[in-house]
Each structure stands twice: as C-alpha cells, then as structure tokens.
C-alpha cells in the first residue's frame, strides 16, 4: 500500500474482527455467567467497530477527495485457500466508496440497534444469546461488505443467512417463529443455490480466462500480480468481461455471462426478497423487533442490492441481466406496495414497505448502464437513506409494540399523547419514506426517478411514481391509525413512553433521516466521472411529490377518525381487497406447489424408492462393511507369531513388487 495511507487503512481488518472477537468472547465466556455484561460488551465492540469505520472513511476520502477518482483498494488481505497454483481465495478487506458506505450504514445501525436492544430485550431469558447472535450477524455482514473476492462474499453470505435464521427463530418455543425461521432459511438457501452455481461458473471460466487476461493487460507490469481469478477487481474488469461474453459456450442461447449474472441475481433476489422469492420476509417479522430493524430492514436485505452493485460492471456488460434486475425490482416494488396498503400488523406493513423500497433500489441499478450510471449512485443513495429511516420505523414500531403489547394497528391509536418522542421520530421517518421535501427519502427517490426517466424506461418510471404515491398512502395509514384518534385497545390505554436507551437511538436516527438527503452522494459514489449533484429535476419532482401528497391525503381522509370510510371502501372492493390482503395468495401457491405437487406427486414416490431401494442398498453396504470389518478382525489372532508371519510375508510381498516394478 501507499506509504502515506493511514493507520486505520492498514488495520481495516479490525472492523469485521471486533464483532467476531466480541461474538466469541460474549458467546463462550460472558453470556453464560454475566448476562448484563453480554449486552454491554457486545454494544461496545460494535461502537468501536463503528468508530473504526468512520476513521477509515475519513482516511479514504482524505486520500481521494470527493468528486475525484475513487480507486478500489485492498489494504489488507492474505491467502486463505490455495486450490492450485494461480487459483487462491483471499481473505481481506476491500475499501471503496460503496463498501465504506455499507460499512458506515451497518456499523451505525447495528450500534444503535445494540443500544436499543439493551433496553428492549431487558429481562428476556435469552439476553446473552441474543447479543451473541447479533454480534455474529454484524461480523458476517461486515465480512460480506468488505469481501475482496466472491468466495469470501459467498462464505459471509451464508453466515449472514445463518445468523438471520438464528435470530428469526429466536423465540424458539413459539411455533410460528420456528416456522418463519425455517421458511426464511429454506427460501434463501434455495436462492443461494443459484448464487453458488453462478460463483462456480464465474470462477471456473474466470480461472480459464485468467492467463489470457493477465497477458493482455500485462497484469504483472501493472501491479496486478496478486490478483486472483475470483477477485471482484478481476471479475469486473472490462477485458475479462469481453472475453467471458465472447465464449462460444452458451446455455439455451443465453451467453454464459448473462447466465451467471442471472444466477448471481437469483441469490441477490433471495436475500433482498425480490418477487417471487419475497415470501420469507414478512414472516421473518417473528423475530425480535430490533432484529427486524437491523437485519430485515437496514442491512441484510440490502446485501442483494450490494451484491448487484458490487458486480455492477458485469451486470451492465451483460445488459440482459441488468434489465432482469430492473423489471424484477420494479414489479416487486409495486406488488409489495399494493399489499402493504391492506395489512393490519404494523411490522408486516413495514416489511412490505421494505420489499417495495428494495425493489426501488434494484430497479435503479437495473436501469443504469455502463455509460449512464446515475442509477447506480441513486441506488446506493437510497440504500443509505433507507437504512436510517427504515431502521427508525422499525424501532418506533418496536417501541409501540413494547408499550401496547400487540402488533395490530387496530388495537393502537391515540399514542401521540402518550409517546410523544416516538410519535415525532416516527413521523419524521414516515415523511422521509414518503419522499417529502426536505427529508432524506425525497432526495434519494428523486435520483432514482431521474435515473429511470433519464434512461428511457418510461414504464418503470411510471411504476416508480405510482409506488411513491402508494408508499405515502400506506405509511400514513399506519401513522394515522397508530398515533391519532382514540386508544382502541387495552394496551393502548396504558401505553407509556419508551425508556431513554430506546428513544435516544431513535432520536439520533430521526436526525439522520431528516438531514442525510443533503449529503452530496454523487461526489462520493459514482462510476467513471462524477456527475455532480444534479439539482432538482422538476419533471421528476412534481409528479412524485404530487403522488405522495395524494397518497397522504387519501390516507388522511380514510383513516383519520373512526375509519368507517376505509371499511366501506374495503367492502366495496370486496374480493380484490381480500386478494391483496392475502398477499395475492402467493404463499398458498407455493404451498400448493410444494405440498400437493412436489411432496405428493414427486417426493413420496422418491421417498418410497429411497426407503425400499436406496436405504436397502445403504443398509446392505453398511452390513457388508461391518461384516468385512468383523472378518478382517479375525486376522488379529492375538498370537504374536502369527503377526511375525504376516510381517515376513509382507517383506516377501515387497520384494516381489519391487522385482516386478524394477525389472
């Protein structure tokens, strides 16, 4: 590395290492003996990691100031697994604007969630276990973010999945939580299968193309000697992509590049809950609410977006794969927003809103191209702002749930008086997500819309504007129902403000949600030339704000007061409303497919075959092995002279073999 790179740059590994150490310490030593200490130590480690991330960002942008060139650095790495000469997987830390962005988001939100959880989980039976898992998650997520190669990315990707699984099923004596955790794990694992195949394809061809590539770009001369065929820098290299896309091998007429990118996107879609792999996310709300805030709103679910962004040059080169990303994103955002308007469970509404916003980020990535990269910046910008306001929304929801002991918005109401701080912060976040000036969401959404419009995808632009309106509608729906009107349930009557440890992180996030929109993201995160903050594009702002206001107005008219108009509307819509409320019966479709078709028609016969034939075979081979062992053990007679005879026979055997081998 450069001699003048700072201390933090050289010790960047500390950022993921601190949570890992804390995970080990808390999990093995602290949590069994000193529950309270578990929370404190876990929190401190994340705060330390957060400080490191800030220092690292500061050092990086001091070296490479805003608006200029932002190279990808790998300040620390070591060879981890050498498969064969010229193919090794490294473990390391990659530093560039988007990894820094993610590091900051992950550590900040994680630190705040840790603080918040100290109060939220107070007195819970699994307090120590909770913080152990939370640390594990933070470590895995940071490891994923800083991965310099696709192998580390994949390993951490799976670790993130595991910790998510553990946290969703945190209340393991609650059957619905266990079912939800299984569902999340199976669905994301299924998606990861695609990712894995994609990784294998990439590394297989990456390895084969690698010698050509290094000859062509003069890797050794250009200081790229340490590059491995699985490094992102190599996989994103235009020379490599051109060679990869030009390979003769195709699959069903799709080029291998597009195929592997689509497979990688399958993994990303699973983790970021894109349609049709979204079904696990609403159920994942069974986990503790701070976990939802951290994992299922701010960080883990954006891993898919991050993965696409990380491989953006490859997606852009493929084109087709990018379009797939754009359309899946757009559809998911609309689809989820529609469902979000009908849900009664406050966390579920937020979950669908997360889906919708993730769709937004995906579509922004999808519409951008190698030349026109505004969407890339916009997507990262939205990821950044969304992390704060969505975490805040979840924390607010957590505070409310903590106070009223129910998830149903119809049992809340009138909470603004009893929980003033929660109310204010929730309102800020709601305004932010609805895209009202000057809150953060306004700016990032605005950029996404501008990107969609600028790239000429008018359908997608239209969908996005519509979704902006729907978002405002359903968010203000739950806002009005929860905080306005009269208390409708027993819990709502006895609600009281959250403790300081809970509201302080919320207040901090509220400030962030309000102001981060003014952050000149484009000067920091960009591909190629910095395009500069493009200012306010009226063609975008006017329809978006208009739709948002319409949404708010509709929500106000329907849900302020006793809500009889909403009931009447729902009745009028009848089966349509019911269909939406049942999430378009997607879960039922999956159930039908898995149970009726896969289990009954396919799995049962296979199981029968397995039981009768395969197991029989396995049993037989086990029996044969054991009998073989028993027979051979008879040679061991216990007679030392027999042993001596074997020894002598062995010598004779060696002589014979050597004779035949050397003659």
């Amino acid at each position: 590395m450069d001699g003048d790179s700072g201390w933090m740059m050289q010790h960047a590994w500390l950022i993921p290492a601190l949570p890992l150490v804390s995970f080990a310490v808390v999990g093995l030593l602290i949590s069994p003996y000193w529950k309270k200490g578990a929370g404190v130590i876990a929190t401190l480690s994340i705060v330390a990691s957060m400080v490191c991330a800030y220092v690292l960002a500061w050092e990086y942008f001091t070296l490479y100031p805003a608006g200029g060139e932002h190279p990808i650095l790998v300040p620390w790495s070591f060879e981890w697994l050498r498969y064969q000469p010229g193919l090794a997987a490294n473990v390391g830390v990659l530093v560039d604007p988007i990894s820094l962005l993610l590091m900051i988001v992950v550590t900040t939100v994680s630190a705040l969630v840790h603080i918040y959880s100290n109060a939220y989980m107070h007195g819970d039976y699994g307090f120590g276990r909770y913080f152990t898992f939370l640390n594990l998650f933070t470590f895995s997520m940071l490891g994923l973010v800083v991965a310099p190669d696709i192998i580390q990315m994949y390993v951490c990707w799976e670790l993130v999945g595991v910790s998510s699984f553990l946290l969703i099923g945190f209340y393991y004596n609650k059957p619905s939580a266990v079912a939800a955790s299984k569902k999340a794990f199976i669905v994301t694992r299924f998606a990861d299968l695609g990712f894995l195949v994609g990784v294998l394809l990439l590394s297989f061809y990456g390895y084969r193309i690698f010698p050509d590539w290094s000859a062509e770009v003069g890797a050794v001369a250009n200081g790229l000697a340490g590059t491995q065929p699985v490094d992102f820098q190599y996989l994103n290299d235009p020379v490599f992509l051109a060679k990869f896309a030009a390979l003769d091998t195709t699959f069903l007429g799709i080029s291998l590049l597009t195929l592997s990118m689509c497979l990688v996107f399958m993994g990303a879609a699973g983790k970021s809950a894109m349609f049709p792999l979204h079904i696990w996310l609403p159920d994942a709300m069974e986990g503790p609410t701070p976990v939802s805030a951290l994992i299922h709103a701010a960080t883990m679910v954006v891993a898919g977006v991050y993965l696409v962004a990380r491989l953006f040059p490859a997606f852009a080169f493929s084109g087709t794969a990018a379009l797939l990303v754009a359309y899946v994103g757009a559809f998911t955002s609309l689809f989820a927003a529609v469902i979000g308007t009908t849900q009664d469970d406050i966390k579920r509404v937020l979950a669908f809103s997360t889906l919708s916003q993730l769709g937004y980020m995906m579509l922004a990535l999808g519409v951008s191209t190698a030349e026109h990269t505004l969407g890339y910046t916009a997507s990262m910008f939205h990821l950044f702002t969304h992390a704060f306001f969505k975490a805040l929304l979840f924390m607010g929801a957590g505070a409310v749930i903590h106070a009223v002991h129910t998830n149903s918005i119809w049992e809340m109401g009138g909470l603004w008086r009893k929980m003033p701080i929660t109310h204010i912060t929730f309102l800020v976040a709601t305004l932010a997500i609805s895209g009202i000036w000057p809150f953060a969401g306004f700016f990032s959404k605005d950029e996404i819309l501008a990107a969609a419009l600028g790239s000429g995808h008018y359908v997608i632009f239209g969908v996005a504007v519509l979704v902006a309106g729907l978002t405002a509608f359903y968010m203000f729906r739950i806002y009005f129902v929860t905080f306005w009107g009269k208390g409708r349930g027993a819990g709502a009557a006895h609600a009281h403000e959250a403790p300081a440890l809970m509201w302080m992180p919320m207040a901090l996030l509220a400030v962030l949600s309000a102001v981060t929109g003014f952050f000149p993201m484009a000067e920091y995160v960009h591909l190629g030339e910095a395009e500069g903050h493009h200012g306010i594009n009226l063609a975008v702002v006017i329809p978006a704000t208009l739709f948002a206001l319409i949404g708010i107005a509709m929500a106000a008219s329907l849900y302020i007061g006793d809500g009889h108009r909403a009931v009447a509307l729902a009745k009028m819509l009848g089966s349509v409303h019911q269909t939406i409320k049942q999430k378009f019966y997607i879960d039922e479709v999956y159930l039908f497919i898995t149970h009726r078709i896969i289990f009954h028609r396919i799995a049962r016969p296979i199981a029968w075959f397995d039981k009768r034939m395969v197991d029989g075979g396995v049993d037989a081979s086990g029996w044969a092995t054991r009998s073989g062992g028993r027979a051979l053990s008879l040679l061991q007679t216990g007679q030392v002279q027999t042993y001596g005879l074997w020894f002598t026979g062995g010598v004779a055997f060696v002589v014979l073999i050597l004779w035949s081998a050397l003659v």
Binding site: L81, T625, L635, Q636, W646, F647, V651, V654, I657, L658
Partner: protein, 483 residues
C-alpha cells in the same frame, strides 16, 4: 555446537530426574513431572530461539536442517503433552486408581530417552547413528508399554511389542548390512550416490527389508499387527504417547530412508506405496468399525491414518513433504486431544469401552466437546485442521495420477466418519438410563485439552503454519545433496 543443545537438555533432564528420584520420597516425587515439563519447555525454547538452525557436528554424523527442526518440535510437543497426560495417573490423582504405575522417576526419564532417540534419528546421517537412535527411540517404548507390573495385559503388550520390534530391527539391520555391502559406506549421502541406478536383486532385498522396518514403525498393513494389541494393553498415557510419538518417529525414519537413501528409486515405487496406502486405510477402517474398546478402536484409527500419510510419498518432495509434515502436526494434536479425554475418562471412571461414554455430553460438556472436535478433525470434517491436512494429501495423490487411490481414500474417509461418529453418538445422542455422576476435572488434562483444541480448530483456517512448513521443506530440499 548450539544445534545439539536441545538434545543435551532433554538428555540431562532425563538423567537429572533419574538421579533425583533416588533421593526423593513419595510426596516430593510429584515434582518430577513438572521437572520433565520444564526440561522439555527449555529445550523447545532453545529450539525455537535457534531457528533456522542448520549445521553439522561430529564429522557430519549429526546434522540439523529445516525439516528436522519441525520434526524435533513435534517430538517435543508430543512428549510434553504425554507428560502432562501421565501426571494424574502416576501421581495417583485419578479417582479410580490405576494400580502398578509406580516408579515415576524412571517413567519420565525413559520417556525422555525415547524423545532424545527420536531427535537424534532425524539428525542422523550415518547408518550407525540412524540405527542406534532408532533403537534408542523404540526400546523405551517397549518398556513403557509393559509398565504396569500387575496387569498381565500390559506385560503381554510389552512382550508382543518387544518381540515384533526386535524382529523389525533385525530386518532393518540386515537390510542396512546389504546396503553397506553394495556401497561399502555407512554414510547416507555416499550410499545414495553409489546406489543411483542400482538394479541388483540384492538392492531390492535390502530395500524391502528396510521398508518393512519403516512400515512397522508407521503401522502400515501388513506390518501393523502389533499396534492394536500394544495400544490396548499399554497404560493409557503410554498409548497416547505411542500413538503419536512412535508414528512421528516412524515417519521421520521413513523420511530418512526414502529421501536420503532411496531418493533415486522412490519415483519407481509409487505403485507399491499406493497399494500399501490403500490396504492400510481400508483394513484399519474396517476393523475399527467393530471395536468396542476405545483404545483398540483408536489403534485401528491410527492404522488407517497411517495410510493417509503414505499418500504424501506419491508426489514430488516439495509438495509431499510439507503435506505429510502438516498432517503429522494435525494428527498429533487431534489424536492427543482424543487421548486426553480417554485418559481423563479412565481416571475418573475406570472404564474404557465406547459404550461407557454414553451421556458424557451431559456430565461434562466441555470434555465431550473437545473430544468431538478432535474426532471430527481426525475424520476430516471441514473446516477443522484434519480436513485441510487430508485435502493436501489427497490432492498430491490425485496430481500423481492415482485417481483410484483418491477414490479409495475418500470412501475410507466416509467410513471413518461413521465410526468416529459412533463415539460422538454415545456422548451426545444415546439416551442415558441413569444420571451419570459428574466426573471431576483435572488441571493438567484440562490444560492439555485446551492447548490442543485450539490448533485442532484453527490450523486449517490459518495458513501460516502450513506455509512455515512449506518454506522449511524447500530449505531442506535445497540443502539435500542432489536436490
């Protein structure tokens, strides 16, 4: 001169313990084990401080090189842990007293003599020193195996070991005699030079005799027969030391003869080595399945592990040697960790059948966890160190073109997983009929297990150690006469 200091320290410790024992009473003899530990630690420290030591003494009859450095470190670590594991039994701290385990001073000094023998073995460059140090390494093991004076099984184990060991020595020394006759030299380097291209039948006979001797120490089928009975009959701490020390010495001896004497002919023997590797792992694994006594079970496990070691001889030395050394390291740690639990369990309960371990996860979860970890490492489950070690060895065999052998090895790995899991199943899954009384804990064994578990878990993930071994091997090969 400094290169021989570790040997001198260990030897001096051995004598000091022997003499001190004469003037001590039963109460003060508990300090003998710490003294042995201290001596070994001091020797280890000198060894580490003097890296990378190389050089020759006594007219080249005692030389030191990078690979030898690793071997000596491993020998000393094995002995160190063996002493730690023996302490409770010998000092009578076991809850179920093991009778007939007296004479502590002798025990430790004999163990140290054996270590010195092994250390000289890797430094030997002459048939005489090679043979004498091999005997010095082995003879103490005979004595240790027969240590328990009131246990007929221990005596029987010792007798079988000594008879077969003497037979192996006779084969080796006769082979050496023929080699001497062929080359008129006892210097290994000269022998290798004069043997180059040798195709006389006498050469095959000599090679066969020496290989059989090496196979005996390494427990290669069909020279392995002694191992099961000796492992089972010997006192458990001795078995622990035998299982790693004897194997390490066997590998060191195999190194000496394969690379220093037969280096020229070795590439022609790959088929022979492959056959023995396949035989060894298969037989060891199959017979291990039907065992009930945990020590006998570990004996067959050790036999099958020896088969994996052989794979390393199939490839080029610069790849095979580091792989074998690394696997030896991993094997020593994992096997000693398993034996730490076995010794502890025997001390606490006096039992040694696999079925007796039922419910251990409830009565002592930490011990059960340590044992599980080590067994998984032996079975080669990623990401434990055993997996990485096997991975290197398998890849060498596959590069050498022995795909069938790799398939056999992989099948054997699966079989071994089955029987290692048998133990784990007893500890974790089998229902417990009565509440197992919570066994006590032991400082020395707990410490050893803790020390061992860490490398078992992380050696596979941290590549530094392997890289160190690799670099050492390259240095060693460079120091070899004709590369």
């Amino acid at each position: 001169m400094s290169i021989i200091i570790p040997e001198i320290i260990v030897l001096a410790t051995a004598f000091a313990i022997l003499i001190a024992d004469l003037f001590m009473n039963e109460r003060t003899r508990v300090y003998l084990a710490p003294a042995a530990v201290a001596g070994l630690l001091l020797a280890l420290a000198v060894m580490v401080v003097h890296t990378p030591a190389s050089g020759a003494l006594i007219g080249g009859r005692f030389t030191m090189d990078a690979a030898g450095w690793w071997f000596k470190i491993l020998f000393m670590i094995s002995a160190l842990i063996a002493v730690l594991l023996s302490m409770d039994t010998l000092d009578g701290r076991a809850r179920v007293r093991v009778r007939g385990m007296g004479f502590r001073g002798e025990y430790y000094s004999i163990l140290l003599f054996s270590v010195v023998g092994m250390m000289f073995l890797v430094s030997a460059r002459d048939l005489a020193t090679l043979f004498v140090s091999l005997e010095l390494a082995t003879l103490p093991l005979f004595v240790l195996a027969a240590w328990r004076r009131d246990d007929p099984k221990s005596g029987e184990a010792g007798l079988k070991y000594v008879v077969l060991g003497a037979l192996a020595s006779a084969f080796i020394v006769y082979g050496f005699g023929i080699l001497y006759g062929l080359t008129q030299s006892t210097d290994l380097e000269t022998i290798a030079q004069r043997l180059a291209g040798e195709r006389a039948p006498a050469f095959w006979l000599a090679a066969a005799l020496v290989l059989a001797g090496a196979g005996f120490k390494l427990t290669i089928v069909p020279f392995h027969m002694w191992a099961a009975d000796v492992y089972q009959g010997a006192p458990t701490p001795v078995t622990a030391y035998l299982s790693v020390g004897s194997k390490a010495a066997g590998l060191a001896f195999a190194f000496q003869v394969f690379y220093r004497i037969f280096g020229d002919a070795l590439p022609h023997w790959d088929m022979l080595i492959a056959i023995f590797a396949a035989l060894t792992m298969t037989l060891g694994n199959l017979v291990a399945i039907v065992q009930h006594d945990i020590k006998r079970f570990m004996a067959f496990s050790a036999i099958s592990q020896a088969g994996y070691f052989l794979l390393g001889f199939l490839g080029a030395a610069e790849e095979g040697v580091p792989a074998m050394l690394f696997y030896l390291l991993v094997y020593i740690f994992s096997n000693l960790a398993v034996f730490a639990c076995i010794i502890w369990f025997e001390n606490e309960t006096g039992k040694g059948q696999i079925e007796d371990y039922r419910g251990l996860s409830l009565s002592n979860p930490l011990m059960a966890l340590g044992m599980t970890l080590a067994l998984f490492s032996l079975a080669g489950i990623p990401p434990l160190s055993g997996f990485v070690g096997k991975f290197f060895l398998f890849s060498i065999a596959s590069k050498a073109g022995f795909h069938g052998l790799v398939a056999v090895a992989a099948v054997n790995s699966t079989i071994s997983l089955y029987y290692y899991l048998r133990v784990v199943r007893q500890m974790y899954i089998e229902p417990v009929d009565e509440r197992v009384p919570a066994p006590g804990s032991s400082v020395s064994i707990g410490l050893s297990l803790a020390l061992l578990s860490v490398p078992v878990a992380i050696l596979g993930i941290l590549p530094t150690v392997y890289e160190g071994i690799h670099a050492a091997t390259i240095a060693w090969l460079a120091s070899m006469p004709q590369g």
